[in-house]
Each structure stands twice: as structure tokens, then as C-alpha cells.
């Protein structure tokens, strides 16, 4: 079966349980089991090849650009782990089917489990380290889900988050390490990397790469000081603990160290980091385990200890040690999984995992007792069980190991560790099964159904068989795996026999065993002593750390984004000015090439007014109405200045925009406070003033420098001047640019205006829909109102002014193409004309006589403009291509037509509609019932006492 399929099957399988769970728990379980079984079979098919030492591969180019390819390979090492993962996985699936209770969502469980399984298989089969990284992080994620499976248990959630943080974090470090490794070698393919030991170990980046990768491994394999997450992961359902935290995931780190062994090991750095860490972990795990009362906690720390053992062996860097490591991996997997299941059974049957509440179960649960005992003794390292063999090899190797020229350090500590490991193994048997039977078990214990104990039983059988005749059963496997680990080099001499004669290792074993028994005897006293020792609770520290970091980042975030716009703006301005200055000073400024124009009398007057008004605004800005008046002055001066500087179109636009803006602001000011209170300190104001002045100097200096220099290249507007009449049919170049050369800008511009009006309308609707409406109806005016809100004179004047204003608007519109003016200005003028009417006779009176609807006007404006543009498509021209010509109707003189005028009509309508809709919406805020008046003016003597001849006129 293709490796792709083997790796993919679990993922495919992950889909079924979720779907099939409706079909019942058995369906889900069997679906999961079946896919796993298939994958396992697919793996076993490759046995012959693997045993021949061949490497099965499958390659697929996924992201060649990155060097991340779906390349898989299967060698001895990969085979062993895949076997463990799939084999034990199968057992776990079976076990979990009976273990999980009715309330637990089993579909989810199997989905997560298979996801995890797939990820693990992916890790061990990857021939591409980037691909391996993907699976690596996937295991972190899926284990996060599995540990947190029992969502209702706080420990579950914490454990899950801790595991994710530690292992995921380690994974991130490993990403860096792998990338470095890949860059040293120039390829991310393992098979290539494994060929480049010299290159890698010679590289200056070897050490960082090593450390980063080991971080990944140590966190994953719960090596000191990252061992603390594993016990808390035990909050997961026992099948998960058995699977992830003894058999597979925690071995991923070991796998990777073994995988990388050929290229990374053999250096001092490797030895001192890996071996030391392993040694410490082994010792620490063993000691802690000996004093744990929770069965699963005991097993967890024993697992930590054994992982340390294997790590240490790999760390030694000798081939023999590597073989021992491989052998122990196999053995540990068998007895530890069995033990976990036993613990699960005990928990399941007695309702407790607390050793203090157990004991004397051997008669009640003989089967479980047998299984548990054998497995435990194997863990203790007693012959003739498989645990004994690999422990012997370990001890043997330690004897030949010197640590900083200390000959007795490593073996000594290893012996202590072995002693403690014997102790807790015996305790597992003695305090759970042996001893007097009790009558206070939470439940009535008895052996479980066969479905629960068959899996561990099978494993225990393995334990025994391997112990008795390892050479026959696992010999070839060990050989092929070991040679894979040591990089296909010649295997060292080793024998998997039980009896090697009286070696130091044998004496050490004996000492360890007896010492273990002795310790168990003194357990009470030791425990009392142990409890007096200060023990840092890793979980508490970790949680506190995370919480403090969370608090810190909350503080940073809220301090940084404290919602004070003025501070945001200051940072913005300061940053801009700073960078602008930097850019300026790092460049070179050319000489002035233009003679400034003389400053005449009138401009100086205007300048004084402008400056005076501006400073006035800064000074009086608290008086909002006054600052509006002053803004009016500024606007006036600016528009006149435009006119003075040969920009009549701008002047016209500025003036009309001015008026509308003013009305807009006054309309809103009617509802806002008319005074701005003092709410910033003098110091603040000075700081603001300073930064503002700097920015002002910046902008002024910039434009001054520009104005005194010529364009570095001829400007494109020469073309516009030259072609405005020929090509655009207009003599007002500005207008031709607006409606023709750059008509697309104008198109966007009217859309902006239209959107603005829409927003204002929408907001009005939204706000008036809320309780604001009531507030508006009851609010008092800022100050007493005068009588006569629609004075007679104003009304009459408007009656004359409005038609004239419309006339002027039309005039400005029609001449726009050739003279200053155009659709935009015309639109504003016409809008203001209607506005006059609003102000004179009131909103309601005027709106009743309104003959056009604003939304429609805007829409038509944009559509007409667009249609003008699209028209060009029909004679194979691009969007917005204009055309013009001349009409000659005697006796009239000829006059021009231009599609640009049509476009300008669109502009006109859009502007008119937008302005009206905006002001109209704002006016609606002031609406209150009874405001609708039937007469255009409040006072009309003609109406009150009409002279006779006017009677009928009044009626009409």
C-alpha cells in the first residue's frame, strides 16, 4: 500500500465517526478501528522490504517553490513507530469503546483520536522536515482537543492549554531549527539532510539549530524542565493518556532525536545537552513517581522517567546506546500501555485511582491483578521480563560513560533512578492489589468484561515473550531499526540475552531491586519526609505566568490604545514630520530656479485677514459660533486668492462650497453645545501648539521650496493646454480636464458625494429610529427664540432671488466648458437657491412644493455620467471618450454640443441631489409636530385684512 494512503487513511477515517455517530457507538468505533486496521495492514505489507533494510518512499511535489513536498519514506525506525502508533492505536480504539460512558460524545472522540493518529503516522513517515513540522504541530493541536475532551473538567481545559502552549511553543522553536538545518544543507528533504553530517556539524549554525530542534523534542517528550505538562495532561480520558502520553506522542520527541541522530549526535554539545537532560529527567521522574498517590500520576511520572532514560541513551551518542534506546522504546511501549489500561480498569471498577484508597484487589480482580503485576515487574526491570533486558543495557552503557571526567556520576545517578523506578513499580503492585481486602471501595470491584482486559493482556503476553526470547521475536526488528538510527552504518556487537554473566549491570540491577523493596517498606517514613520537602508546583507557576502575561498584555494593549484620538493624532503628526524631515535631510536640495512674484498691496491685506482669522479661530475656538464666522472669513480669502492667482473655477467652487458647509455646520450646531469647555491643561495645549507649529513650518517650507523651483521635467499639463480645444472642444482647460482628460476622477468624485449623502440619510434614519427622536422633541433651544420665524421681507426677496439664482446656475453650467463654471458649481448654486427657499418659508412648506426626489437625482446623476461613458463603447472607444461638434441653425449663430456637457449634467444632478439630501436629512432632526405651516410667511397683512379687490386672489 502506498505510504500516501497509509498516512491519509487515519485522516479519512477521522471523517467517519463524526458522521456515523448517529448510526450508534459501535458504528463509530468500528469505522475508526477499520481504517486503523487497514492502515496497519498497509504498513505490514512493507515488512519484507523493511527487513531487507530497504527504504520505501513516495514523493509528491506540493510546494516546490518552498521546498515543502509531500515526500514520505519508510525505514526501520519509521516502521517501528508506525507499528506502535497503529498497533497500539487499534487496541486503544477497542479499549475506548468500552471505557467511554454513554454521555461522552464518542463520534468526536474517535475523530480527534484518528486526527492525532494520522498526525503521528505523518511524523514518522515524513521525508521532508517541513512536512514533518506540519504533522508535528498537528499532534499538538489534536492532543489539545483530546486532553480537553472532557470540557466540563477545569483540569482538562487547563491541562489542554498547558500542553498546547508547551508542545506547540516547542514546535515553533523547532520550525526555526529545521529551517536553519534546511538552509545549511540546501534542502528540506530528510534523505538529503541525513547525508550531510560533516556539512551540518561544521556549520556555525549547528548549535542554534541543535538547541532549537531539541527544544521541540524535549517539550514534546516532557523532558526536564518541560516535564510538568505531562501529568496534567492525564486529565484526559485514560485511553488518551495511554495512547498519547505513554505510547506515542511523547515518543515523537524521541523519534526525532533518533531520526536526527546520524547528523546531530556525536558532538559534545549533543552529549552534554541530551544526555544530561535525559539523566536528570529519568531521576526526577522516578523520584516523584514514587510518591504519587494517583495511579495515573504515578504512571505519568514513570513515563517521564523512562523517556528520560531513552533520551539519555540517545544522548550518549554511542551506537550501543542507540541500540539500547531502540530496544527500550519497544519494551516501554508494551508494558506502559498495559499499565495504563490496568489503571484505567481499576479506576473504572473501583471508582477511584487513589492508591491510598485501594489495596487487596488481587482476589476481587485476579485477571487485572495478573496483567498489572507482570507489566509492573517488567517496568521495575525484573527478569525474565523485557524491561529487565533494556534496563541492563542501559546500566551497562552508563558504566562506560564519563561526565566531565567523573566516572561514577552517571552510573551512580542511573542506579538511584533504577532504584526508585523499582520502588514505584512494586508500590503499584503492593498498594493496589496486595494487602488486606477493604470494604470501603467507592464501587464493588470485579474483573471487567473481556473487551476491556483483552488489549492489555495481549501486551503483557508480548512483555513476557520478548523477555524470554527477545532475539527471536524482536531481534531482527531491533537490528533493522538500530541500523536506521545510526544511519545505516555497521551495527555494534550486542546481545539480547537474559544472562550475560556477572556484569556490573547485573549487580546494579540487584541493588536497585532490593533497594526498591526496601524503599517500599519504608514508604510511610519516606513519604513523611518527602512531604516536608518544598515542591514547586509547576502547574501553579505556569498558570500564574500565563495569567500575569495576560494581565500585562491587557495593560499594554489598553494603555496603548486608550481611545484618546488626540494622542493618536499627535503620534501620527510627529511620526510624519519626523520621517519627512529624515527624507529631506538624506536627500540633496537643488538651487532655486524661479524668481518669486512681488507681493502686492491687496495680497498682503488678504494675508493679514487670513492670518488674523486663523489665529482668531485658534484663540476663540471655544465659542463655536464665532469660530464659524471666522472660518467664513478664511473661506472668503482663500477663494478670492484662488481667483487672484488665475483659478476662477476654484474661486467659484470654494465660495459655493463655503456657503453650503456653513449651513451644514450651523444645522448641526443647533443640536450640539455652543461652547467648548476647557478640558485640557495648559501644558497639554502648549505641547499641542508646539507640535502643530512644527508641522505648519514643515508644510509651509515644503511648498515654498517647490514653488521656487521649476518642474524637474516638462509637466503633462502642457498637453492638456495644447489639446483642450482641439481634442476636448472646450477652451476652459480646467473644465475639460475635469470632464474629459480626467473625467474618471470626476466620476469617482461625484460618487463620493453621492455616498456621503446616502450615509447622512442612512444615519438620520438610524438615529431617528431610536429614543433620540423623543429627546429631540423635548429638547429646549439654546436660548429664547424670537417671533416671526419666516419674515415677510425674506420671503419676498427669495421669490425674486431664487429664479435669478437658478438662471445664474444655468448660465454657469452652460458656459462651464469654455469659461469658468461647470456642472459642479452650477449644482451647488442651484442647491443654494432651493436652500434660500427652505430658509425663507420653512422646510415643510417648501418640501411640499418640491418636484424632484433626491435619491433619484443622485442616482440619475451617476447613471447619466456612467451612460455618457458607456456610450463610447458603442463606437469602439474606451469608457468616457468624449465627442463634440457644432450646430448651425440660422438665424442663430452656430453653437457647440459636446458629450462632455452630458457628463457634466450627470455631475450637476449628482451634486444637486447630494447637497439637498444631506441638508434635507439634517433638517429632519429639527422636525416637530405642528411645524408644518400652510402659509409661506408668518405675517401677511394682505391675508389678515385683504383690500377688497384682492379677495379672489387670496382664495386662489
Amino acid at each position: 500500500m502506498s505510504l500516501f494512503l497509509i498516512a491519509a487513511l487515519p485522516f479519512l477515517g477521522a471523517v467517519f465517526p463524526a458522521l456515523l455517530i448517529r448510526a450508534g457507538r459501535n458504528a463509530a468505533a468500528s469505522a475508526a478501528g477499520l481504517t486503523t486496521f487497514l492502515a496497519l495492514m498497509g504498513l505490514l505489507i512493507h515488512i519484507p522490504a523493511v527487513m531487507r533494510g530497504e527504504i520505501v518512499t513516495a514523493r509528491f511535489d506540493w510546494i516546490p517553490g518552498l521546498g515543502l513536498n509531500a515526500n514520505f519514506m519508510l525505514d526501520g525506525l519509521g516502521f517501528l513507530f508506525a507499528l506502535l502508533i497503529l498497533g497500539i492505536g487499534l487496541l486503544i480504539i477497542l479499549y475506548a469503546r468500552f471505557y467511554l460512558s454513554r454521555e461522552d460524545p464518542m463520534g468526536q472522540f474517535y475523530t480527534y483520536l484518528l486526527l492525532f493518529q494520522g498526525a503521528m503516522v505523518g511524523i514518522v513517515l515524513s521525508d521532508n522536515i517541513l512536512l514533518l513540522l506540519i504533522f508535528w504541530e498537528l499532534t499538538s493541536l489534536s492532543s489539545f482537543l483530546l486532553i480537553g475532551y472532557w470540557k466540563h473538567l477545569p483540569e482538562g481545559r487547563q491541562g489542554a492549554r498547558m500542553a498546547l502552549a508547551v508542545t506547540g511553543g516547542g514546535g515553533l522553536a523547532m520550525i526555526a531549527g529545521m529551517l536553519i538545518l534546511g538552509n545549511i544543507v540546501g534542502s528540506y528533504d530528510l534523505s538529503v539532510i541525513l547525508q550531510n553530517k560533516e556539512l551540518i556539524q561544521a556549520s556555525p549554525y549547528y548549535l542554534p539549530a541543535l538547541i532549537l530542534i531539541l527544544l521541540g523534542c524535549f517539550t514534546k517528550s516532557a523532558q526536564f524542565p518541560f516535564h510538568f505538562w505531562l501529568p496534567h495532561a492525564m486529565a484526559a480520558p485514560t485511553p488518551v493518556s495511554a495512547y498519547l502520553h505513554s505510547a506515542t506522542m511523547v515518543k515523537a520527541g524521541l523519534f526525532l532525536m533518533a531520526r536526527m541522530w546520524p547528523v546531530l549526535s556525536g558532538t559534545d554539545a549533543w552529549f552534554y545537552i541530551v544526555a544530561t537532560t535525559g539523566l536528570v529527567t529519568m531521576l526526577l521522574g522516578a523520584v516523584i513517581a514514587a510518591f504519587k498517590d494517583d495511579l495515573k500520576a504515578l504512571l505519568a511520572f514513570s513515563t517521564v522517567s523512562h523517556l528520560g532514560l531513552i533520551t539519555m541513551l540517545l544522548g550518549f551518542g554511542t551506537k550501543f546506546a542507540a541500540v539500547a534506546a531502540v530496544f527500550h522504546i519497544i519494551n516501554h511501549a508494551t508494558f506502559k500501555a498495559a499499565l495504563f489500561m490496568t489503571a484505567g480498569i481499576v479506576d473504572h471498577e473501583t471508582g477511584t485511582r487513589d492508591i491510598k484508597r485501594l489495596g487487596g484487589l488481587r482476589h476481587l480482580m485476579p485477571v487485572t491483578f495478573t496483567i498489572g503485576t507482570i507489566a509492573a515487574l517488567s517496568m521495575a526491570g525484573l527478569p525474565p521480563l523485557n524491561g529487565f533486558l533494556s534496563k541492563e543495557m542501559m546500566l551497562e552503557e552508563t558504566v562506560h560513560t564519563t561526565w566531565l571526567h567523573l566516572h561514577y556520576l552517571v552510573p551512580g545517578l542511573a542506579l538511584v533512578a533504577a532504584l526508585f523506578s523499582a520502588a514505584y513499580s512494586f508500590r503499584f503492585v503492593g498498594h493496589v492489589f496486595l494487602g488486606p481486602e477493604r470494604n470501603d471501595y467507592p464501587a464493588h470491584p470485579h474483573d471487567p468484561p473481556v473487551g476491556l482486559w483483552i488489549a492489555p493482556a495481549f501486551l503483557v503476553v508480548l512483555v513476557i515473550l520478548i523477555g524470554l526470547n527477545s532475539a527471536a521475536i524482536v531481534g531482527p526488528l531491533v537490528a533493522v531499526v538500530s541500523s536506521a538510527v545510526i544511519g545505516g552504518e555497521k551495527l555494534p556487537y550486542y546481545s539480547l540475552k537474559l544472562w550475560h554473566g556477572f556484569t556490573p549491570a547485573l549487580f546494579m540491577s540487584v541493588v536497585a531491586t532490593l533497594g526498591g523493596l526496601f524503599l517500599l517498606g519504608l514508604h510511610k517514613h519516606c513519604e513523611r519526609f518527602w512531604n516536608t520537602l518544598p515542591r514547586p508546583e509547576a502547574k501553579v507557576i505556569f498558570e500564574a505566568l500565563i495569567n500575569h502575561f495576560t494581565q500585562l498584555s491587557r495593560w499594554i494593549t489598553d494603555e496603548l490604545h486608550n481611545g484618546v484620538l488626540s494622542r493618536y493624532a499627535i503620534i501620527f503628526v510627529a511620526f510624519t514630520v519626523g520621517l519627512g524631515y529624515y527624507a529631506y535631510t538624506t536627500g540633496t536640495i537643488g538651487v532655486e530656479t524661479r524668481i518669486p512674484l512681488p507681493a502686492q498691496f491687496i495680497p498682503i491685506i488678504g494675508w493679514i485677514c487670513l492670518v488674523g482669522a486663523t489665529l482668531g479661530i485658534m484663540w476663540f475656538h471655544r465659542n463655536r459660533l464665532l469660530s464659524l464666522v471666522l472660518i467664513g472669513v478664511v473661506g472668503l480669502i482663500v477663494s478670492v486668492a484662488f481667483n487672484y492667482l488665475s483659478a476662477p473655477d476654484l474661486a467659484l467652487t470654494q465660495i459655493s462650497v463655503e456657503v453650503v458647509t456653513m449651513i451644514l455646520l450651523l444645522l448641526s450646531l443647533n443640536f450640539l453645545p455652543t461652547e467648548t469647555p476647557w478640558d485640557s491643561s495648559a501644558a497639554r495645549r502648549w505641547r499641542d501648539a508646539a507640535i502643530s507649529v512644527v508641522a505648519g513650518i514643515g508644510s509651509g517650507a515644503l511648498i515654498y521650496a517647490i514653488m521656487l523651483r521649476d518642474f524637474a521635467f516638462p509637466t503633462i499639463s502642457d498637453f492638456h493646454l495644447a489639446n483642450s480645444y482641439k481634442g476636448g472642444g472646450g477652451t476652459n482647460v480646467v473644465n475639460v480636464i475635469l470632464v474629459d482628460f480626467r473625467g474618471f476622477d470626476t466620476f469617482g468624485e461625484i460618487i463620493v458625494l453621492g455616498i456621503a449623502a446616502l450615509i447622512i440619510f442612512a444615519l438620520t434614519e438610524a438615529v431617528l429610529g431610536t429614543n433620540v427622536r423623543g429627546y429631540l422633541l423635548n429638547r429646549k433651544p439654546h436660548w429664547p427664540q424670537s417671533g416671526d420665524s419666516h419674515p415677510l421681507m425674506m420671503v419676498v426677496a427669495t421669490r425674486v432671488m431664487m429664479p435669478i439664482a437658478l438662471m445664474v446656475g444655468a448660465y454657469i453650467f452652460f458656459r462651464g466648458h469654455n469659461q469658468p463654471g461647470g456642472g459642479f458649481i452650477a449644482g451647488l448654486i442651484v442647491a443654494i437657491a432651493f436652500l434660500m427657499q427652505y430658509m425663507a418659508s420653512g422646510y415643510t412648506w417648501a418640501i411640499e412644493r418640491q418636484r424632484f426626489y433626491y435619491h433619484g437625482t443622485i442616482g440619475w446623476g451617476v447613471l447619466i455620467a456612467a451612460a455618457t461613458g458607456l456610450g463610447a463603447w458603442f463606437n469602439e472607444r474606451p469608457f468616457l471618450t468624449s465627442d463634440f461638434g457644432y450646430i448651425n441653425w440660422p438665424p442663430l449663430e452656430e453653437f457647440e454640443w459636446a458629450t462632455a456637457m452630458l457628463f457634466d449634467t450627470g455631475v450637476f444632478l449628482a451634486v444637486l441631489g447630494a447637497v439637498m439630501l444631506a441638508l434635507d436629512s439634517l433638517s429632519r432632526f429639527a422636525w416637530r409636530p405642528g411645524m408644518a405651516q400652510e402659509f409661506p410667511m408668518d405675517i401677511n397683512p394682505l391675508r389678515d385684512d385683504p383690500p377688497e379687490q384682492d379677495e379672489e386672489k387670496e382664495q386662489a
Binding site: 486608550n562 481611545g563 484618546v564 488626540s566 518669486p596 512674484l597 507681493a599 502686492q600 495680497p603 494675508w607 487670513l610 486663523t614 479661530i617 463655536r624 469660530s627 464659524l628 472660518i631 478664511v634 473661506g635 486668492a641 488665475s646 476662477p648 476654484l650 462650497v657 453650503v660 458647509t661 455646520l665 448641526s668 443640536f671 450640539l672 467648548t676 478640558d679 502643530s692 507649529v693 508641522a695 505648519g696 508644510s699 509651509g700 511648498i703 515654498y704 517647490i706 514653488m707 492638456h720 493646454l721 477652451t731 476652459n732 482647460v733 480646467v734 480636464i737 475635469l738 480626467r742 476622477d745 456621503a756 450615509i759 447622512i760 469659461q819 469658468p820 451634486v911 444631506a918 432632526f925
Partner: protein
């Protein structure tokens, strides 16, 4: 002349920014309109200054023309900024009416669940 224009731009910018740094919506809006004047004049002035040379073609005689392009750009800019001013005025007004408070600052906690309130 150039000095007058440049200094005017500078002063308008300064005043505008000063007002934008106030803590109520209305002065900020005033500041925005001031700085809008500033940038419009700035943009206009990048066409360099010229007197009595409007870019209206004269069919009869050869006369100098000012650079029309910046004028067109400024026209567009004026229109757009008018729309923008209208919108911010409206939003500020709505915000004031909805919360009876015209501070422009908001506390980080303002965001908590506020979006839920309208539906």
C-alpha cells in the same frame, strides 16, 4: 507672493492640527476643515503661481496660461473633502445625540458588547 502663500499654508496647517488635537468633536471638525484649506492651497500652489493667466484659452492672441492640472485636482479635492466634512459632521452629531456627550475620546472598554446594543 510665494512667501505669503507658503506662510498661509503653514499657518492654516498649524491651526488645523492644533484644533484636531482638541478633545471634542466640533473643534476637531473645524481643524479638519482648516487643514483642508491648507492642503487645497498647497496642491494648487504646486502648479506654481501666476497672475492674470487663467487657463482659459484665448483664441485671438498668444497669452501665458497657468498650470491647469493642479486646479482640476484641487477642484476634485474640494468636492471630496466637502463630502467628507458632511459625513463626519453627521456622524459626530449622531454620536452626540445617541450618547449626549461630544467627547471624541473613547475608553477601551467602550467596545465591550456595544455593537450588540442596536439590533
Amino acid at each position: 507672493m510665494e512667501a505669503l502663500v507658503a506662510s498661509a499654508v503653514g499657518i492654516l496647517t498649524a491651526a488645523g492640527i492644533f484644533l484636531i488635537l482638541r478633545r471634542r468633536t466640533f473643534p476637531v471638525i473645524l481643524g479638519l476643515s482648516l487643514i483642508t484649506y491648507a492642503v487645497n492651497v498647497f496642491l494648487f500652489a504646486t502648479g506654481r503661481l501666476a497672475l492674470n493667466a487663467p487657463a482659459v484659452l484665448n483664441k485671438y492672441e498668444e497669452v501665458p496660461y497657468t498650470d491647469p492640472l493642479p486646479q482640476a485636482l484641487v477642484l476634485t479635492a474640494i468636492v471630496i473633502s466637502f463630502g467628507m466634512t458632511a459625513v463626519i459632521v453627521m456622524i459626530a452629531l449622531s454620536a452626540y445625540l445617541s450618547s449626549k456627550d461630544d467627547h471624541i475620546d473613547m475608553s477601551p472598554q467602550d467596545s465591550v458588547d456595544a455593537p450588540g446594543e442596536d439590533a
